[in-house]
């Protein structure tokens, strides 16, 4: 207790503690500010690379199944050419092939937002595989911890076989509802001590809804083909 009797030592201690807290705060704020990476995820043939090209070059380009991520730092502009974000954003297009998509997890810690692209014309048939990927993204520990907002971009609305956004929402919610039951019952991973159980998505005892999640999940329709991407750019502008 002799230490606290000396007022000088006490002051020094307080100053030290304050300094540490200040440094910590600055660090956290800076880190938050640096998180300006947006991920483009989704199954193969959903239109991720095409969306990436649209956002970056504002043009159409023939694409093929990706084998590697595409990354770029871009400044999004509105129709009048004015910048809509304070600073340029980092855009990453992750291949959608089942064997390659594991790479998305490496980007999750620095993600500011996730654009999950869905093919509106085929989602009726591929609801399960799409929902499995979406489930993995939603249940990712970084998504839940830093509440990364997710926009589900229902692409290819220009085609007449495209399902309406509300229909896609019900499809995906129903699938995730089933998945969270089977996933939580799955055999545990080897080498795991049993405490690493993934968070249960939504509320127990209720059917799964996107609004039950702690992070924002929005569904919008878009068409990369026609350049109808305003809802996505607005969403990005709101976040940055």
């Amino acid at each position: 207790m002799a230490l606290f009797d000396n007022p000088l030592a006490l002051i020094a201690l307080v100053v030290l503690v304050l300094a540490i807290i200040a440094i910590g705060l600055i660090f956290i704020v800076q880190k938050k500010a640096n998180n300006n990476t947006y991920l483009i995820l989704g199954a193969t043939d959903a239109g991720k690379t095409a969306l990436f090209t649209r956002l970056r070059y504002n043009k159409k380009s023939p694409t093929i199944t990706s084998m590697k991520e595409n990354e770029a730092t871009i400044q999004l502009v509105d129709d009048s050419g004015a910048a809509i974000t304070k600073q340029p954003i980092q855009l990453v297009d992750v291949p959608g092939h089942e064997r390659l998509r594991f790479r998305y997890a490496d980007f999750m810690p620095i993600a500011r937002g996730v654009i999950f692209v869905v093919d509106s014309t085929t989602v009726g048939r591929s609801a399960r595989t799409t929902a499995e990927y979406l489930y993995d993204v939603l249940a990712n520990q970084h998504t839940t911890k830093s509440r990364i907002p997710i926009i589900i971009a229902c692409n290819k609305t220009d085609l007449f076989t495209a399902l309406p956004t509300s229909k896609i929402q019900t499809l995906l919610e129903a699938e995730i509802n089933r998945l969270r039951a089977t996933r939580s019952a799955a055999v545990e991973q080897q080498e795991s001590s049993g405490d690493a159980i993934a968070d249960y998505l939504g509320y127990e005892g209720q059917d799964f809804k996107f609004e039950h999640l702690e992070n924002d999940v929005t569904l919008i329709g878009c068409s990369v083909e026609n350049g109808d991407l305003n809802s996505i750019t607005e969403w990005i502008a709101d976040l940055s």
Binding site: P62, S66, M67, H97, R99, E188
Partner: protein
Amino acid sequence: MLDLCTVLTKGGYVLWQKNYTHINGAPVDALIRDVLIEERAGITSYNKDSYALKWTFLNEKELVFVIAYQSFLQLTYVDELLETTKRLFSTTFSEQLDSSDVVGGDYSSFDPLFDRAWKTLEEKYSKSKQKVPRKFEDTKKFENTLNGSKAKPAVKEPSVEDEIAKNIQAMNLAGSPRSGARGPGGRRNVKSPKGSPVPSPNMASDPAAGKKKKSQKVMRTWEGKVAKGEMEALDYSKKLDGQEHEDATLANAESLVDRSKMGNVVDGYYEVQDVDYGDEDEDDIFDEEDGELVSKPTAKSSGVFGFFKNLTGQREIDAATLEPVLQKMKTHLIDKNVASNISQHLCDSVQSSLLGKKLGTFGSVSTLVKDNMETALKRILTPKTSVDILRDIEQAKARSRAYSITFIGVNGVGKSTNLSKVCFWLLQNNYRVLIAACDTFRSGAVEQLRVHARNLKALQSSHSVGEVELFERGYGKDAAGIAQDAITYANNNDFDVVLIDTAGRMQDNEPLMRSLAKLVAVNNPDKIIFVGEALVGNEAVDQLTKFNQALKDFSGLQNPRHIDGMILTKFDTIDDKVGAALSMTYTTGQPIYFVGTGQTYTDLKNLKVSHVVQSLLKN
């Protein structure tokens, strides 16, 4: 004759493309999905529908060049055309490719360049192939005619006769001394002391020995003479005069004996030198410094610039640099129990994706290879289909039918044991499970399952919905029939899952493989799960390919089934030699559903990809 030529980036952009006809389907997409992503880039061509595809990488710029043509055409120039295209493209657009914005560039001006290159190559190859019919005068037949024999080319004849004459001379020379040499020394063998070429001290003191030595000396010159004669006859080059001849002969004969390897003469006995193993190089070649290996090829670049380039610049990776590192990686993988041909394929694939890449100043080749191998392994081990069996069962339940899983494999790998583990897991999730005992061959197999069923029943708490029942029909009956009965029984009695246990069989046993294919063809189970030991090495590939082949060949179906996934058993016994997991997933392209890690019902785990990759790359 080409259908399509295209230049792609690995990110998925088509930089330049030329179609010559309408393309059916998407062969290039199929190539990427089936070959390039699956780390099978070690192979050189790929057939899809009616197309044959060939490709090459420009790793430095992350580009892929693909050419597609009708597979019935035998185009020999495609490989060369690919290389030419690659060279042309990278030189023509070097600025655009070097800029950070590769995709934004305009590459449409490549059309005429490519067409020209193609035309040139096509002409070159058609020319070299062209066959002009021989003139009658050149044929053998003509020689046999009267005119022909008269008009025999004057130039050729003497040379042939010369040769014959020379050969006869040589034969005479070689033959005559042999007949004369049937004397005392004729058959003397080298080991005999008196025939020793090096005179020993005690030999020299003995006059008789000296005499013999003399005669022997004569023999040696005589032998030399033979050689000389032979040489003369067989020497078709310039003539030498006498003295030079002698010298040449001596030198020649001398060259037949390596003095340093000559044996010693001990007590008049000529002892052949011991086998020399040379200085054993104890150093492990793989321990060599990577830096040294890398700098070797670049060391040639001279001058100050070369020095700075070495110091700061980027170095291009070539095959010579990669070879030792990949060799080391391959043996490392084999040490981890990966099948040897699979580790070879993987190394080839990694090599093809690294050649031509630039290496940073402080990067070492081995870390680069290791990183690349890690991604490759992750890709292979990551399942490409859903492994959520419970979700599948739910789907079947919604259609009010039982979901059937067949366990197949060789003898003694743990089919029944792991079946009961899976059963335990399903019971925990409140499913009603029927176990079909279709091993009607091995005595005790049914009893084994009965014990498991009894245990599992005992483990069930009273209020749980899950239920297990054993469906048995004794021994010696047809397994396919029992499985069929079991599935019908399950559908009628509201069971959710049918687990079909089959008899273990060796992959080479054709009658048993036929009966397995029949079981699968008749019952069409939802999942065919191959149970394999984690202990197995090269054999894993053989087992899986033969089981798959049997399911395909003996089914008699239009769309035969194949193995849908694997269970890797005895995983707790292998420490970090987890190569079997890689061999199996690479061979089938199917996921590993579970790993068996112990003796109890709860010892069933999901394979953790990162853990396997770590174990494989760990030293």
